[in-house]
């Protein structure tokens, strides 16, 4: 069924269709309407789930961690400082290999306070062992939430579904709500291999030594490093699972097909602009204009940021002349995190004349600074037409010092 609704409602409907069993919620702008909507759906009796209004985000994820350990499909959502407040719990959830799904409605982080959109919140959590998916529009939000549960439960790694605060969370767009009977067949009830139960006692997340150790039957058990190595291996291997889940979804619902990156007018492009979320659609408009002027340029959006789809990224970018990465986040003291990762993915791909594409970085839109089409147009055009100088230093768009 097609409806016109906000991005937050799209996410809430995705959670409803996924039949999450335990939902922990703490308010923070611009996530709040999502968990409010869920409380309304549950109070109205349209969904059976435990809705737990916690006293902090740290506790929100604690609830999900415990509920997931005890075998329930668990969901929470947050933004900005709420996500940062969860930091310790993010590592705990992935270390404990729990298939929690969380929506991160992207917002800039304090200080100073801002409630508006950028990507610093989720980008700064990239090393916590969570899968990170970014949605570009409302349809992708609802679809990604449903796919995220299927993925998380297959690979036993928690998943963040990230989307732009306000630009997507509070704007209204048409999208299709998948049929509940179809989502039920796509996403069967959660059946973990083990969950906490007095009938089968186990001690989870115990202190684990540096070295391997035998159990009481003399069988070798992993040490801390083996457990962590397996997280890394499974995280990398999850890219196959992501493709499988995406194609299963596409077979049923007819949408998807580009779970890693989404390319626009890129096949023959000499230059490729890279963006995340709604910005990538904004860049499409700019690229259309530049194409009209005869500049061979396309857009690539990152749909998946962790695990980093380095092969897909390299394949898409290695043969072009220049890559221009537009970012709403910064690794302070260096450059945008996506820019660094793209450079590293391209490192092994050297062209016939010993050349690689140049990679430029633009920082823009921090704390919701308006991104003018004119500025994107000028920045991208300049980058496609002049030889870049000091490419390692990010340039800033829209700065008014």
């Amino acid at each position: 069924m097609q409806i016109i609704e906000s991005g937050n409602v799209a996410a809430a409907l995705g959670v409803k269709l996924s039949r999450a069993q335990v939902i922990a919620a703490y308010p923070i702008t611009p996530q709040t309407p999502l968990t409010e909507k869920l409380s309304e759906i549950i109070e109205a009796g349209d969904m059976t789930a435990e809705y737990i209004p916690v006293e902090s985000e740290h506790s929100a994820l604690a609830i999900c961690i415990a509920a997931s350990s005890a075998g329930a499909r668990s969901f929470t959502a947050t933004s900005a400082n709420g996500l940062l407040y969860m930091h310790e719990q993010l590592h705990w959830a992935s270390g404990a290999r729990l298939p929690i799904v969380m929506c991160v409605v992207n917002r800039g982080v304090g200080a100073p306070w801002t409630v508006w959109n950028d990507h610093q919140d989720s980008m700064s959590q990239r090393d916590t062992g969570w899968i990170q998916i970014y949605a570009n529009d409302h349809q992708q939000i609802i679809d990604s939430v449903i796919k995220a549960f299927a993925l998380a439960e297959e690979v036993m790694i928690p998943v963040m579904v990230c989307y732009d605060g306000y630009l997507l969370s509070h704007t209204y767009m048409p999208f299709d709500i998948p049929e509940a009977t179809l989502t039920d067949s796509f996403l069967p009830p959660y059946r973990p291999a083990y969950c906490l139960d007095p009938d089968e006692p186990a001690n989870l997340n115990t202190v684990t030594l540096s070295d391997v150790r035998t159990d009481i039957n003399g069988v070798k058990a992993h040490g801390y490093m083996e457990i962590r190595h397996l997280l890394q291996q499974d995280m990398l291997a999850s890219m196959d699972a992501i493709e499988r889940v995406d194609s299963r979804f596409k077979n049923i619902f007819g949408r998807g097909g580009s779970p890693f990156i989404e390319s626009y007018r890129s096949d023959d492009a000499r230059f490729i602009a890279v963006g995340i979320g709604s910005l990538s659609y904004h860049l499409r408009d700019v690229v259309d204009d530049l194409r009209d002027e005869g500049i061979s340029v396309g857009v690539m959006s990152m749909q998946l940021y962790r695990p980093f789809p380095y092969q897909a990224v390299a394949k898409a970018l290695k043969d072009c002349q220049g890559v221009i990465v537009f970012e709403k986040a910064l690794s302070y003291g260096y450059q945008g995190p996506v820019c660094s990762d793209i450079k590293s993915a391209l490192y092994h791909y050297v062209g016939p004349e010993g050349s690689r594409p140049f990679v430029l970085n633009y920082i823009l839109g921090l704390g919701g600074r308006e991104i003018l089409t004119k500025d994107l147009y000028e920045g991208l055009k300049l980058s496609c037409t002049t030889k870049p100088s000091s490419p390692d230093k990010p340039r800033w768009i829209g700065l008014k010092l």
Binding site: Q21, V22, A24, A49, E50, I52, P53, V54, E55, S56, H58, S59, A60, A62, I63, C64, I65, A66, A67, S68, S69, A70, G71, A72, R73, S74, E88, Q89, W92, C195, L196, D197, P198, E200, P201, A202, N203, L204, N205, T206, V207, T208, L209, R213, D215, I216, A221
Partner: protein, 308 residues
Amino acid sequence: MHTKTNILSLPEEELVYPGNRACAGCALGIAYRIGLKALGKNTIIVVPPSCLTVLQGLYPIAATKLPCLNVTFASTAAAATGLLGALKARNRKGINVVGWAGDGGTSDIGLQSLSGACERGDNFLFVCYDNEGYMNTGVQRSGTTPIGALTANTPIKGKLQRKKDVPAIMSAHRIPYVATCSAAYPLDLYDKIKKALTYEGVKYIHIHTPCPPGWGFEPRYAVKIGKLAVETGLYELYEVENSNVRLTGASEKLMEKRRLLPARDYFRAQGRFAILTDSQIEQQQQEVNARWEAYFNTTEDPDEDTPD
């Protein structure tokens, strides 16, 4: 009147294996062993980092026969709520959910999530074992370290502030059951846990838990020190049932007999109070006397003739 458990009626089954990793003479070992007997097998325990994490064993060996979830330091109570949510979703009924944390994990870093759970009225038991300091990290001061105690980070002057009254904070949430216990009175602890489990909502049990290396006494004296704390009147055993306060067990007897041991006996038996001067001890004695005078006034003096 509920029947009191005695040593003969205590369940024989052990849910804590012998030979765990607690220090020799650790009173937590007593409290945990007896506590789990009271909880029984149909229980899931939540444990934050603390001496109990160590007692529980190192992967892949565990010291308890119950399912246990180790969680982050601040999140014991919230995790207990999460377990309840999952059990309800899975339609698993009659399982006790229990958070078992140290005093730091309860009175300091864990207080916010515990308070949140109390306000929501989630149905679990929270046990705080109070060894009056951050023992796992090497005996630093906590909110419940008593005034005057030397710790690793109050090494010269001793702690300058009073002990935080956590059971009173819990009572202020108007949860249905709050009780204080001591590891030195394990049967009282057993009965109070049993009683707690009959209530719906958050139940809170605070256990005074002497710690030989942290408090500076020989391992064999853990029970003796625990009893001294009660018999000097410094630590009261009581229950708050639906907001009604009542001294219990050894403290109730003390009230009836109207005879406290000198506080000095307790302080002088422990290295951590070595810098307390006689006048500081006297000052604490005055405070205990004043507190107990109020208790005495609520009962009749056994030495006075009772009028017919």
